[in-house]
């Protein structure tokens, strides 16, 4: 009986702790979304009590004002556009490279792979200035090329693809080759259809990574026509007057695309997180 009580206490304690954590994690986001639908004065009036988290007005004025003050829809489209193109071209280029290193005759393929893995350690911040000079030299500043082309090839994604393709048994590919299929056809018709997992994983990892890009777009895409949503939000935030409701509306709106992509691909994102840790 005594033991049972102790266990109950632990269980209840854990539940309380979990709930507390849950509130800490969810409260800021709840406040963000709820406040974006409130009149400015109500945001401040409600802040001292629980009503800060309770929807009241369903006031859409913040959103219309946010769209007036900054072309957030265009910025979101810009971000979707460049991030999609990075992932699309990246999936093509990196999967080809990974497949070549895993299954085709490439001179020094082992050394090349080792070198590519070694390159992962170079922080983007270290190369950002020379990269800007190169991109500037190409005349790409304030164009989508600057946002896309430097990030197509990705060492880590090449490694992911290589690992995956290495797992496909050679006999399987030999069979296709005996049938007279070329290497390219083998890749497209035999390998690709059974590689959805690795492609989905690379897609979601790349998308999430580049959706949040900030420093690079700030440097190379300051022009309104190519401005990304993250930079756009910062402009909305720093340009007075600083209206909470309007800015919170912008923040909420900008999160929708990523949330949708996440809902669609969360399985792969979580899986890749999990397996990355287990491999250590």
């Amino acid at each position: 009986m005594k033991k049972l009580n102790k266990r109950h206490i632990i269980d209840i304690g854990s539940l309380i702790l979990r709930t507390l954590f849950f509130l800490v994690f969810i409260a800021p986001l709840l406040w963000l979304v709820v406040s974006s639908f409130k009149q400015e004065m109500n945001i401040f009036k409600d802040m001292g009590s629980l009503s800060a988290f309770i929807p009241k007005d369903l006031f859409l004025g913040n959103y219309t004002k946010a769209f007036q003050r900054a072309d957030l829809i265009k910025y979101v489209m810009n971000s979707m556009f460049y991030v999609f193109l990075i992932t699309l071209f990246g999936m093509i280029v990196n999967s080809l490279c990974g497949y070549g290193l895993a299954k085709l005759k490439v001179p020094y393929s082992k050394q090349i792979l080792k070198f590519i893995i070694a390159l992962i350690i170079i922080p983007f911040e270290t190369i950002i200035l020379p990269l800007f000079l190169i991109v500037n030299n190409f005349g790409w500043v304030n164009s989508f090329q600057a946002l896309i082309v430097p990030f197509i090839a990705n060492c880590f994604n090449i490694y992911l693809f290589k690992q995956f393709f290495s797992g496909i048994p050679d006999e399987f590919l030999e069979a296709a080759r005996v049938d007279g299929a070329s290497d390219l056809r083998t890749f497209l018709q035999i390998v690709l259809p059974q590689s959805t997992t690795v492609f989905a994983t690379v897609f979601i990892l790349t998308f999430v990574a580049h959706w949040g890009d900030f420093m690079w777009p700030l440097i190379v895409a300051s022009d309104d026509s190519v401005r990304t949503i993250q930079v756009g939000l910062q402009f909305l935030f720093t340009n007075p007057p600083q209206l909470y409701g309007v800015i919170l509306a912008g923040l909420t709106f900008s999160t929708i695309p990523l949330a949708i992509i996440f809902l669609m691909f969360q399985k792969y994102y979580v899986q890749s997180a999990a397996s990355s840790g287990l491999k250590g």
Binding site: I10, R18, F22, V24, F25, I26, P28, L29, W31, L32, F44, M47, G48, A52, V93, L96, C97, G100, L104, K105, P107, S109, I112, I116, L119, I121, I122, P123, F124, E125, I127, I128, L129, P130, L131, L133, P150, A153, I158, D183, W211, G212, F214, M215, I219, Q230, F237, Y244, L248, L251, L258, V270, A273, A274, S275, S276, G277, L278, K279, G280
Partner: protein, 299 residues
């Protein structure tokens, strides 16, 4: 005849590797142009006096940039700030993530709700949460309003030298720990239940089970999380850039911010590249060190 066959064989072999090269080449070319080349350039510029505005005046100055940087108070200030961030946020965020993973390591509908809640900050961007928390940390903001319920006076979260970096640390951990919780959860699932049962039979309480079963079982995962979090933490830039602009009084100025400032505001490519190279060396050294430390220790 034999000669001809051999010749043909050679051509076939050659064609084979040519095809392989065609697969690999696009990625290699892109990596060379946009990663290897700029890395070499950064290394080169660090030995030059080079202002972007006057490229014709570029001249070799040996290690002068390095001695300048290493003697600069501003550099050590940003280094100290960055190290402070790393040293506090890595253990704080990692143990938070582990604690959350343990709290919800039971399959049920309610833990699912908790998991989604803990994970939800991950699906926002750093810019979004930095702006959001700037409002929450404000003098009349949400957090000060909450604290006043308990009679705690207004806190200058982002406007005091003492608190600004800690405020950024708390927010950063809040944003990222859900992701690492997922990694720990996967690790916890790999530990066989029988180990816990055996420990319980031996009379180990929950805490002892944690020390002797959970921690050793998670060794690889912990190593991974600590290394990834550390590398990530060194790159701190967006949060202070948006929330404090490096202030108050430079207390949240980071190394990456200095690279950015020297390079893109003062257009001093040589000096900026020197900091960038030192930054790279520090990251490489620290992550190697952590990997060695965790590998060598047997629990």
């Amino acid at each position: 005849m034999i000669h001809k066959i051999q010749h043909r064989f050679h051509i076939a072999k050659y064609q084979k590797s040519l095809l392989g090269i065609m697969f690999v080449l696009p990625a290699i070319c892109l990596l060379f142009t946009f990663l290897i080349l700029p890395a070499i350039m950064a290394g080169k510029y660090s030995f030059y006096n080079y202002s972007i505005l006057k490229p014709e005046n570029m001249n070799f100055i040996g290690l002068t940039n390095y001695t300048d940087v290493l003697q600069s108070k501003a550099f050590w200030k940003t280094m100290t700030n960055t190290f402070y961030f790393v040293v506090v946020v890595v253990p704080f965020q990692s143990s938070l993530a582990l604690l959350m993973a343990i709290l919800i390591n039971k399959k049920s509908r309610i833990t699912n709700v908790f998991r989604i809640g803990f994970f939800s900050p991950v699906i926002t961007s750093i810019v979004v949460i930095s702006i959001l928390w700037t409002f929450m940390y404000a003098k009349e903001g949400l957090i000060n309003n909450f604290l006043s319920i308990f009679g705690i006076p207004n806190q200058p979260f982002l406007t005091s030298e003492k608190q600004a970096m800690n405020s950024i640390i708390f927010m950063s951990a809040w944003q990222a720990s859900g992701y690492f919780m997922m990694i720990f959860l996967a690790g916890l699932k790999e530990i066989p239940e029988t180990l816990y049962e055996a420990a319980a039979i031996d009379g180990a309480n929950k805490f002892k089970q944690f020390i002797h079963v959970t921690v050793p079982g998670l060794r690889n995962v912990i190593k991974f999380v600590v290394v990834v979090t550390t590398i990530h933490a060194f790159k701190l830039f967006q949060q202070p850039f948006i929330m404090t602009g490096g202030g108050p009084n430079g207390s949240t100025q980071t190394v990456v911010q200095m690279i950015y400032k020297e390079g893109f505001q003062y257009r001093n490519a040589g000096y900026s590249s020197t900091i960038a190279i030192l930054f790279f060396i520090v990251i490489a050294a620290v992550s190697t060190l952590i990997q060695k430390l965790i590998k060598d220790r047997s629990y």
